[in-house]
């Protein structure tokens, strides 16, 4: 199951990447704060901390960050 997901991911990436995208002058919308991957860094930081201490999963969006005694 996990290997299938990984392979799907890779094939998606390698197969489609070079043709997809926009020209440099079409990046107007993407440049906006609200379209950034970390559009709300403080919210994300606080949420990560809440869910790290109330659940058993972590990771996915980033790497690193501090530890705490809450889990």
């Amino acid at each position: 199951m996990k290997m299938i997901s990984l392979m799907l991911l890779l094939s998606f990436v390698l197969g489609g990447c070079s043709n997809m995208g926009v020209q440099p002058w079409q990046r107007g919308h993407l440049a906006k704060q609200k379209m950034q991957l970390d559009a709300y860094p403080v919210d994300a930081f606080l949420d990560d901390h809440i869910y790290f201490s109330k659940e058993s999963s972590s990771g996915g969006a980033g790497v690193g960050g501090g530890g705490c005694g809450c889990n």
């Binding site: 606080l46 659940e55 996915g60 705490c68």
Partner: protein, 415 residues
Amino acid sequence: MQLKKPKPIRRLLTAATSTLLASTAQQVVAVEKTPWQVDSAFLYYSEKDRVTVYEPVVAVRKETGDDEFIGVRLVLDSMTGASPNGAIPTDSPQTFTAPSGASSYSIPAGETPLDTSFHDTRAAISAEWEVPLDERLKAVFGGNFSKEYDYTSLGLDATFSWDLNQRNTTLTTGLSVSQDQINPVGGVPTGLTSVPTVVGVQKSTQGGDESKDIMGLLLGVTQVVGPKTLLQFNYTFADEQGYLTDPYKLLSVLDNSGQLRASDPYVYEKRPDSRQRQALYAKGMHQFGDDVLHASYRYYWDDWGVTSHTYDLRYRYELAGGRHYLQPHLRYYLQDKADFYHYSLDDNNIPAYASADYRLGDMSTTTIGLKYGLVLGESHEFGARLESMQQKAEGDAPFEDNTAVIFQLNYSFLF
């Protein structure tokens, strides 16, 4: 005025103008006054009958060169209240000693035992330096340190981003290492040994402190799909070695008749000393008109047997006038328990590892919330967020629901 034939004065004028513009060039020192971007927030998190957290955060960021930035973040989190200690509710009142061993607390019959002597303030600082290594390669180096009275953490991380295909594709790789020190109150209890129920009896300990080493790895790809669409796929891996047990949590031990066993009714939990976690994460963002949709999914699994699915949805709905927005948020989390999770233990079958921490059990977390944001100018914003979070048991273990309110205020400005 006499009408004279106009003289060509241009050459003289051009020369004089050049002199003017060149001579005053020295005066104009292009002082790069890049501002500090300040993000401040305050979080109020409160569980029904359990823990309450007050958490102020301040983060500053500044451009220090061409595409070079530094950032520092300070967090304080102050926690009060009580947390479940892992024991199950019973028909009669129960008594537990506090981790210090110097006091005890009693729980009425039928109630989930919560450790009421639990309170803690933690301070954390992190810094990062973002620097371009090449025209298409960027690095972010970071460090973090946090301290609470029984826990210290120190970490370093580095992330590299490589742009391809006219910056439509970005490959990211990240590495982090950290070391945590745990100094539990009263010492580190030896796993699966008896919890004293009377003050004066010492718990069995294996020393004053323990440590844990964590290594993390990230591989990711971000792809621009269209002028208003972005996709991200990440794979993360983490390896933890050392003391991974919660020193304050215990389990109830039941005898053949399903009652708490007469002697040594509680034992300290014990978790394995290594853990390997993995996650696959996908996120999509799309702009509908002026509104933005963020949707993400994470599949997580580790060698403790925990697997989970996390679904997260945010829709930023721009309000009339273009200065403010409403953003509803929905998050659903479903977790399968760890192999060694037990609601309670059987007297004649004590396993090698066991924990009754509901956070390792079959459970779900459902969060629903709404954020209001007001844009006051360039990098100048105010926001308020209110959410409701509910955790429920999803398997055989009938632990109590945990309901919490999340309230956050944030304010960003340039200084």
